[in-house]
Symmetry: C2
Subunit: 700 residues, 2 copies
């Protein structure tokens, strides 16, 4: 009974997270908003971001309504438990809500950060970091809330109603909860793909005409796309990233729960991931208090402060989990603890590895900067080579984590225990999400603060401080991206195992032998899909950016006095165009992710779907790492040259690195991160549609 | 006994191929060599190519000697049959020999093609195509010869000696023959990687300094790297491509034979692939007679002529195979015929698909050319997007081929029969190699003929004709690359199945369940390896090209009168530098391919190796298609702009496409094609070291 008692920590953790986030949000809103000009600019970004989200949620609602009725029809035909369509809705709504809250606070914080940075670097950091923490804690808080509500509701329901599909109450609960990840996944895909297209279309569009054609600096208020660019940081990097990790967070917990039941751990198998998440929340809140430094801190000291927060939280989770596993699963299952630890450490290591490959302090990015001396072609080749090279260590880390968590949690004796171990390592990695996401979501706020300072013509030392914050944000963003990809891969593996499980729940078994020709075909198709998906999202960015380019050129030509500052550009129009383009362009890649697993299942069977998911996870993971790191390295190589190396700003070397950075934009901010969701959503879709496919496939 | 009788066709086919190649070679050598200047240039290229091959073979010999003794030691410790080390040597020697012969004729043909092109387009085509045919027929002739010698020798040996490892004579034969593919694979890797690095280092180096810095046209005799560039076409595209396909050819036949025995087909299982190859030889020879046209033919007519040759050969194979399968395997196994047909058709379709994505006659390449209007960044994004998009159809084609050949050859009832079906579809695809390789190896000859015409200052209409031949060559090269990748994927799958088989031969079984954590780790590692390998080869090209750049700059600076044509550049030095760089740079990636499967096997067992091979095959295939097609599309987008679109030569749009083309060079000619070999060689290494790994692995 200790399990049931401990489970109450899940809603408690959720309320703590939301409460603390609320407290932080209030304290941010109380801060000085700065000059009228600063308020006005922040207002413009806020309005743009809201307009984007409103439009996006409107479009996505239609999708959710349609899928809701499809799922409802399937439930009425007994393909699904009746709760699944509703759980689908709540997953989507909570994910959307956390994106909305995080973004609202982020857009309130940019001018406040700029204003605080007028005082000192550390003050600026604290505002921006608090804003990130609101995002991080909202994501974990709402995630845990959704999970807790459903768990307690289903537990009550199945206690007083007959269980239709299974014989075991806890199995029925976890199998139902597993399906609700699809709501979060779908929302995440739209947020990542739509936000990613928006942000890069605006960015590339602003740069191509503003920087290259008109020769005005970045964040110049004369550029009509400058507000759209700032909006993009918020909808892409804040709302998109949040939805991505919300999904991993929720997905890894429900997958682990289902696998725990399969491993014969009963309620305890559910308790461990849920409570560990709650422990992580508390550890994250404690960790935020460690993020502080003296008023005159250097950038290095600030980074150390951020790291101190994350490491403290990780350490706390590492210690408490030991007692948690011991109390719930008993000494016999202490191996599960090592799985948790493997995940936790793997997450940190992948982050450090990402930093090595993308920071201009190390050799790989320097080599790209050096290549700028021989022109853009060698910059591109160098960046792709660095990105490809950078896949090796994260893959090895994940492999080691897989092997350790499988075998140490007893996989050799009980296969399902081993799978549970792999899944719980994902939960371990994500347990400190509250604070890791905070350090990540802080970046766009700092970036926007810089934009605000530039446009409001604050003194140069303020811009210098926000630039320092922004650079720090780039480092943490790179780490965050590595973390998001690594956790997505482990979550996807847990979901694939859960898929196999779910199929068994419906009385079938999956032959996941690779030599099986349908599995083989699935592997190839899955291995290809991330490439196709990236191609679609990159072309989407290109088309959307093209529209922005046309519009910016038009404004430069038609609005007289725009270049002298006498006339104001029509910022809103650029936002509207980017919004419309992103909404349109996100449809095809999203449908791909949903339609392919169903189509493959119906045509060549459930075994092929397993192959498909595995192929997509392997290639998707590697490709996502490559694209994120190539993009990050190009970005920082450009910044390195801008600092005065190889001729500095305006030199031909600089021009070459600008080409690299422009290519890297959709790599690192649209296509790469969207792959995280592709692999998770495909698994989710396969799980939800498992019984439908089993009954209707051509290959039985 | 009909099987044994038919088998004699294999040596007969071999001798026919070699005889016809000899006849063609003689007739080429009798042709007019052109002016003294032309002879002199051809001589320089020939000397450079010979010097490169000599140096390469010297280095590779050392590798072969070392591995020979390792294998010998393993054989003496009973890990291997005693013949394997010797078969390893013959595989390497025959592969090297076919590369040498093909390249010798190619370098003899460039000036003769230019001279013939002075008469007419068709005359030029016939010389260049004959040269390609010598290469194609030498490859298949020597391949079949090697196979026949070993088959008859082993058959005799095991008839009068006790069989050590197995109980069945034919199983002992095929299991031994399987191992000898490693010699061909190793040679192919060195040829592809070394040749690929050489050719692109020379090309990029020549372009960067010559075209961009000095502003002199392509193939200008004032460029010190121009001869190295021409040498590169021969060592990379002729010798490298030949070794690649030699390996696929031999590998698919031995893998099919081994799987045929596993499927219980006995000697007939060996007869079908060997004789089908012989049938393909004859069909290819007949096909070459269809490659002709009137003297005033347009380029379209010439392409049709080439196609006519290939299609005729394919049709002949399609018809004769039916009777062959019927006669050897009986009506009960007629399904195997459909597998052959599936492979044959898949090869043609992949070629056509490649053409669609890389030819400037179609939308994808046009879209890249359009992107040149917004600068190099959009050209790069567009090219990568096109390459990624282009992976979808070839993957679907291969999947359909896998499913058809597995099920129609009876895989549902007998799993091994199905695997035999997949393997024989690879043989079917490669059966017409004699002529498909001819249309492919013809390209570099045409390219060199253009260089010869330019440097010898032949009248512009000659250069125009060789340009037309070259453009045609680009089309057939793209088709050939698609074909090489597709056949490599199917061959690799056959080899993986044979690996599983070989392990069973040593009394173990492979658990190839994807959910098995070691298999999973293998899949991830394998999926990452092609990325790492590409990164290494791309950086190698970059470093080697850097050395050429320095040398060309030095010559421009130090040799007075080089730009006015008064002084001759030191061509040989560029060749020497590129040779040395290629030899040095090819070591690390090659060792990777050999060391990783052994290392993974020893550390995490034979199951992980299966995962590794599968992961590498899936990702390697997709990545190879992407890189080849991105590269091809960039190349043709540049040519399209050069034809006068979007501002034509010298415009900023042209500059942008030059960047794309430069990035594409290592994509399509070094890294991409080398992946074909990576996936095959890794399988071969796993097969040869299977018993060693089984006995010494940490995870039993």
């Amino acid at each position: 009974m200790i399990s049931i008692d401990l489970l109450i920590l899940a809603p408690v953790g959720s309320i703590l997270a939301l409460g603390f986030a609320f407290y932080l949000a209030l304290s941010i809103l109380k801060m000085d908003e700065g000059t009228e000009k600063m308020k006005e600019i922040a207002q413009a970004v806020r309005v743009g971001a809201r307009a984007y989200l409103k439009r996006q949620y409107l479009g996505v609602s239609m999708f959710f309504v349609i899928v809701f009725f499809i799922l409802l029809a399937m439930a009425l035909k007994n393909y699904l438990v009746i709760f699944v369509p509703f759980a689908f809705l709540t997953g989507g709504i909570f994910s959307g809500l956390s994106g909305f809250i995080g973004m609202s606070i982020a857009t309130q914080s940019s001018n406040r950060t700029a204003q605080a940075a007028s005082k000192s670097l550390n003050s600026g950091l604290r505002v921006a970091f608090s804003s990130g923490a609101v995002m991080g804690l909202t994501v974990v808080g709402l995630g845990l809330l959704d999970l807790s509500i459903w768990y307690y509701f289903l537990n009550w329901y199945y206690s007083c109603h007959p269980i239709a599909l299974g014989t075991d109450k806890i199995a029925a609960i976890t199998s139902t909860m597993l399906c609700f990840g699809m709501g979060a996944s779908s929302m995440a895909l739209f947020a990542r793909v739509g936000g990613g297209i928006f942000t890069k279309a605006a960015d590339v569009g602003a740069d191509l005409v503003g920087k290259i054609e008109a020769g005005i600096p970045e964040d110049d208020p004369r550029n009509p796309a400058v507000i759209a660019d700032n909006v993009g940081d918020n909808v892409g990097d804040v709302a998109g990233m949040g939805a991505d990790l919300y999904e991993s967070y929720v997905g890894s917990i429900v997958a682990t729960s289902a696998l725990g039941v399969a491993a014969g751990l009963g309620v305890a198998g559910v308790t461990v991931p849920m409570v560990m998440a709650a422990v992580g929340v508390i550890a994250s809140i404690i960790g935020t208090f460690f993020v502080k430094s003296g008023e005159q801190a250097s950038q290095k000291v600030l980074l150390a402060a951020l790291r101190k927060g994350v490491f403290t939280s990780s350490l706390l989770v590492a210690i408490i989990s030991y007692f948690l596993v011991r109390a719930t699963l008993g000494v016999g299952h202490l191996g599960v603890y090592w799985s948790v630890l493997a995940g936790l450490i793997a997450g940190v290591l992948i982050g450090l590895c990402t930093e090595y490959y993308t920071s201009s302090g190390f050799k790989p990015t320097r080599s790209i900067a050096d290549a700028s001396l021989t022109g853009p072609a060698t910059v591109i080749i160098g960046g792709i080579a660095v990105g490809m090279m950078s896949t090796a260590i994260p893959v090895i880390i994940v492999c080691v984590a897989i092997l350790i968590s499988f075998y140490l949690s007893g996989g050799a004796a009980n296969f399902n225990s081993g799978l549970y171990g792999i899944a719980i390592s994902a939960v371990g990695m994500l347990s400190t999400l509250g604070i890791t996401l905070a350090t990540d979501a802080y970046g766009p706020v700092a970036d926007n603060a810089g934009g605000n300072a530039e446009m409001a013509k604050l003194p140069p030392e303020v811009r210098k401080r926000t630039d320092a914050l922004d650079a720090l944000g780039n480092t943490t963003a790179a780490t965050g991206k590595g973390f998001a990809i690594g956790s997505a891969a482990l979550t996807a593996l847990a979901l694939i195992a859960a898929y196999k499980n779910q199929v068994m729940f419906f009385g079938k078994d999956i032959n996941s032998n690779m030599m099986n020709p349908t599995v083989l075909a699935g592997l190839f198709l899955g291995g290809m899909l991330p490439f196709l998906f990236c191609s679609m999202t990159m072309r989407a960015v290109g088309r959307a950016a093209g529209k922005i380019v046309v519009e910016v050129r038009r404004q430069f030509k038609e609005i007289a006095g725009i270049m002298t500052g006498a006339a104001k550009p029509d910022y809103a129009r650029c936002v509207t165009i980017a919004t419309a383009a992103a909404q349109k362009e996100m449809i095809a890649p999203s449908l791909l992710a949903i339609a392919v697993p169903i189509g493959v299942g119906l045509l060549i069977g459930i075994d092929a779907v397993a192959g498909l998911l595995m192929g997509a996870t392997v290639t998707g993971f590697v490709l996502a790492v490559m694209m994120a790191n190539s993009g990050g390295a190009w970005d920082n190589a450009k910044k390195f040259v801008e600092e005065g190396h190889h001729g500095g700003k305006g030199s031909s070397a600089h021009q070459a690195t600008v080409v690299g950075d422009t290519v890297g934009d959709p790599f690192k901010d649209t296509s790469g991160p969207s792959l995280n969701i592709l692999i998770k959503l495909m698994s989710m879709v396969s799980i939800v549609f498992a019984s439908f496919i089993i009954k209707n496939t051509l290959i039985k």
